[in-house]
Point group: C2
Chain length 671, copies 2
């Protein structure tokens, strides 16, 4: 690569882009870790994009109508931090750049959305940013359909590397975007031909441009170091009625000794290598030093959008009062006041006419009521609409032709669905929920984890939550999945027992601000267990006494979801023998853990044996059975210790011993 | 669709294929559940493939050189069961067909490899079979390179639907196959244009043929109901030097009222619908009745390969003695005798020269020794070779040009890597291991679960197993993942503390017959903790007393992996205060659970408080801290309760309180 030629061809551009490269070299050297090569390779594309095309105002990084910049190749985080610092972010200061990758810094190893505004999403796990971006673009379309082009009209720009494109989730994401013709989504592919193990050709011979074209994308290939070519490609992308891929031929770790090598992917920390690269750039400044002309130019870029933002704010004032209130409320992520009354009404009706019902059907009934009062909900399913019962309440279908629809047929794309929902939630203004079978949370696991890490209140509607799904067999029967979601920090796993608990769980899920919810719902019918109406949301306490012991309390049965009625039947059996038995319904362990010790003690007092029952593995249960520090109670657990099997549900519960008789027997054995 | 025209064009073929369709209709109706449409749509392709091309001998379904038939669209399981029954499987009898989806039947809702021979893999989770098939084809190439074309020369045939191709894992799998030019892999795409929610066009506009072509596949499109066209396509696929896609235009639920509709995907159980479909087929027989001429013809197909198998057996006799023994041993899945001595030698050397070392480096040292004595190992990494330390022992690299290599650069394809390893293990003759970061087991989770469900001894080399990886931050730091693997049935999660334990864990992993292993290995250096050589494999007991209390035992510290030395330091602190403290190393909870009660009691006796320490969440620990039924001990746990952060490792351990001081403090609080 002839750096001198690049420098002389566009001397001003060169210096501005070199600032990104130099900051990257300095920060990585100071941290003695990080990834230098990507920012060094993509600095030209970033400079052209941000300075000539991106709509933003550095002083108001939360402007709802800003363009979104998604660094899917998150290891190149210094590219993003450099851009934020240079354009005048109030949060990503030079001190933060100096503290790259240190405890308490906003400049984490990989971008973390909750550390500073302008970091639109958390990336690092490859392909996630790209898949998030589809959700950002969907949210933009959905909000524009609702509030008009004068209020919502922005682009989503993505930088993705070979790693992002090699991950399977990229295929789900790009085919979904192509299908939906998300024309305001533009992906820059950092086509540098290098991965960690070596040249891409060691592991792949895919024609990425042909692949995107095969799914309805507008595609271009450009020299990623030629600012005018990049600019022209971006203009063409903006004009296209399709989502756009711009494959940028770049040199990883441009201008360094490690250029075009796998070594260039990682941390360039050798002082001589750093010095030589800077010399090649003609960069004569000290570490972390940005010459005033360059900094001033970048800061002007950062302020360029201010007028546009003010004009937007003026237009916002012209929105009708109702629309304006809705817009503000949705952007703030607040639930509508009507939600609580809708839930309460439904609960009351449920108690008045108790019926055996699958909780997935209960969820459908809740959605039918809720979707009418929450215009921000955006539902969908990964090709299991009729099984997940996620389409309810006349939402309309979101398609390439109709952006007003609030239901999306995601196709057989669990992973992209979850990642897109993350993108929608991050974008704001939309509250996404989506369904698949509980066992297939496995397919979406990286994105579900990121919902929790990114503090996004996505709702996962996971039906077919145990062996109770029957004949489809062990490939479809979750056994360890309740434990998996409970083991994941900042995740609420709800396993409601009937329609009332399902309604309460939905109410909690839809009012979360920073926590995703996983609803575990049955395929099979279950009897109603809540016989008395309570205006209070009992699920909010995580666990509560569903039925008190008659006479002296000798046993406490703790159950969730479809096993609550099993516990109730066991109680009846035990009470008939004079064994006073309390039944505790525990729809959400995480919320119960958050209660004060006195409440927990009231629900689970000492002096009685305890048996837990749930059609899943025991992991995560012992805290409630045995107590955190032990010695609380003698206890046992009735659940699954192996994978399931293919047979009718009732046969399976019997064969695996998840029955009232087993529960009663275990109680007797403990007494 | 003009069924009459199809019938009259190829009357003999029609009747033979109709037998598959009729058995499907009958079995689904009897079970009152299942999926009728796929077998009805693909019966023609299956009939041509099996009768004219597939190399197999129904009487010897374990013939190592048989062609493999992979039903990736596993919901169409009746297609496979019908073929097995018709061709004379000794296991899939008519009774089994009648018991479709019932308890104890070999004809589970989705095919399960361990229920009957001829079921080559477990499918249902979409895309898995397709990704398995890449591993089958790799194993075939690898074994042919070792034993010659006379011994190993067979095809892998796959049937995949829209669901399989829409899943992200399909992209990883097909690009890997294209890159490796796996020419003996042929995929039939059941291109029926229908998914569960409706027409494919509701959710996708991908040109699948163009997509495969973009990754170096040979591609064709045929009428999936024209036997001669199918035959010609298969011939062309066999002649191609590339993996081959045959897109078969088919009609789901052919000939029924539900043809070409989403309804046709599921169970056709209405008696009239079933009767009408049979009438359209000209099928005048009773339920489960196959006319003698058709059954005879199929049974001849089933025996057609017998002569070829006998000729193969004769050729096998001509293999040299050493090669023959190796072939037999590898097909039997037995480890070589030299493995134990190699491990023992390494352990001895480790104890003699103890060194601080990351366990990922320890793993590399083990592999360097082990790969020399186990020609069946086949290693790889998802583009993290230098970080996972998986390439050791001069394996050579498996490429399109060199099939003798035993190391594969999987690219950034964790999911396809895991699924391909499943395929290799299922094929037999190869023992796969593969690496990525522990947190990215999330990306491969559906396939890792299937390793366990399918009883395949795949080894997952998962490095960077905690916050100890440092600056890369929470997106890369596993917190809940040890718990996830432990919660999964039939999975061994090893977290070795040093080189000796790592060697022992590898020995166990490489001698498993029906259980996958996940090795959790550190990025950071850890001191050696095993000071004394033991010929016995102590990890095999799951947990053992690493250091006994001096004087009266008041506390037991239980630790794994990189926290064992933390426990040792805490012990030193406590002993200095006169608190006798035992340290138990617990590298594998699953193996410890399998020990008899007396041993478990010896390791974890009563009468002392217990503190567990592990840089992960508590889930799964309480059984060892509190006892299964409670009241065993007062106990506490030092670990993670949130996601990690980006900072140097030592800072993180300090900030999150995973230190000897914290452990000692918790002990004091309990006493």
């Amino acid at each position: 690569m002839d750096i001198a030629a690049l420098r002389s061809a566009h001397p001003d551009h060169w210096r501005r882009a070199a600032a990104i490269r130099a900051l990257t070299l300095d920060a990585v050297a100071a941290a003695n870790s990080g990834h230098s090569g990507m920012p060094m390779g993509m600095a030209d594309v970033a400079t052209v994009l941000v300075s000539r095309h991106m709509k933003f105002d550095a002083t108001a990084p939360d402007w709802p109508d800003r363009d979104r910049f998604i660094l899917s190749a998150g290891h190149g985080s210094m590219l993003l931090y450099a851009l934020l610092y240079l354009t005048g972010s109030p949060e990503i200061t030079l001190d933060e750049i100096r503290n790259f990758r240190q405890w308490g810094a906003k400049t984490a190893g990989h971008p973390e959305n909750f550390l500073a505004q302008g970091i639109e999403t958390t990336t690092g796990p490859l392909g996630q940013g790209l898949a998030n971006s589809v959700g950002f673009a969907i949210a933009e379309e959905a909000l524009r359909a609702r509030f008009g082009r004068k209020i919502v009209d922005h682009h989503t720009w993505v930088m993705a590397g070979d790693g992002c494109l090699m991950e399977g989730v990229s295929q789900e994401a790009l085919t979904l975007a192509g299908h939906l013709k998300l024309s305001k989504l533009v992906v820059f592919f950092d086509d540098n031909g290098i991965t960690i193990d070596g040249p891409v050709s060691m592991a792949d011979r895919t024609d990425q441009v042909a692949r995107f074209a095969a799914s309805g994308w507008h595609v271009q290939t450009v020299d990623g170091h030629d600012p005018e070519a990049i600019d022209a490609a971006i203009r063409a992308a903006k004009d296209s009625p399709l989502p756009s891929l711009i494959a940028c031929k770049t040199h990883i770790a441009l201008g360094s000794a490690a250029q075009d090598t796998a070594k260039g992917h990682g941390a360039l920390t050798d002082p001589q290598v750093v010095a030589d690269a800077k010399a090649a750039y003609g960069w004569e400044y000290g570490p972390f030093e940005i010459p005033a002309d360059v900094k001033t130019w970048w800061e002007e870029v950062g302020r360029r959008g201010a007028a546009e933002r003010e004009a937007w704010a003026a237009r916002l004032e012209t929105l009708g009062k109702g629309k304006r209130a809705e817009f503000d409320r949705r952007i703030a992520g607040a639930a509508p006041r009507q939600l609580t009354s809708a839930i309460r009404k439904l609960k009351k009706a449920a108690v008045e006419a108790p019926a055996k019902m699958a909780t997935r059907k209960a969820s459908e009934a809740v959605l039918a009521a809720v979707n009418q009062v929450t215009p921000e909900t955006f539902g969908g399913s990964a090709d299991l609409t009729g099984s997940n019962n996620t389409r309810a309440g006349d939402l309309g279908v979101f398609t390439a032709e109709d952006r007003a629809g609030r239901y999306l047929h995601y196709g057989i794309r669990e992973h992209a669905m979850a990642a897109a929902m993350n993108g929608m939630a991050l974008h704001g203004g939309v509250r996404p929920y989506g369904g698949t079978f509980m066992v297939f949370t496995d397919y979406a696991r990286p994105a579900i984890r990121l919902s929790a890490l990114m503090k996004q209140p996505v709702v996962y509607v996971m039906t077919h939550d145990s062996i109770g799904l029957g004949e489809d067999g062990p490939t479809h029967q979750p056994v360890e999945h309740l434990a998996i979601h409970r083991a994941t920090p900042n995740t609420l796993l709800f396993r409601p027992a009937d329609l009332v608990e399902t309604a309460e769980a939905w109410e909690i899920a839809l009012t979360q601000e920073a926590t995703p919810s996983v609803l575990a719902l049955t395929r099979q019918g279950v009897p109603a267990v809540r016989a008395k109406h309570s205006a209070q949301n009992l699920v909010r306490r995580g666990a509560y006494v569903l039925a008190e012991a008659e006479g002296k309390r000798q046993a406490i049965l703790i159950a969730t979801g479809s096993e609550v009625h099993v516990a109730m039947a066991a109680k009846a059996e035990l009470e008939a023998e004079g064994i006073g038995t309390r039944v505790v319904s525990m729809p959400c362990m995480e919320l119960f853990a958050d209660q004060d010790a006195a409440y927990r003690r009231r629900v689970l007092p000492g002096g009685a044996v305890r048996v837990g029952v749930e059609a899943g593995v025991r992991a995560g249960w012992d805290r409630w059975l045995l107590g955190e520090r032990g010695r609380e109670a003698k206890a046992d657990f009735v659940g699954m210790e192996s994978f399931g099997a293919s047979a009718p549900a009732e046969v399976l519960f019997d064969k695996f011993g998840i029955t009232a008789a087993t529960v009663a027997e275990r109680v007797r054995a403990l007494l």
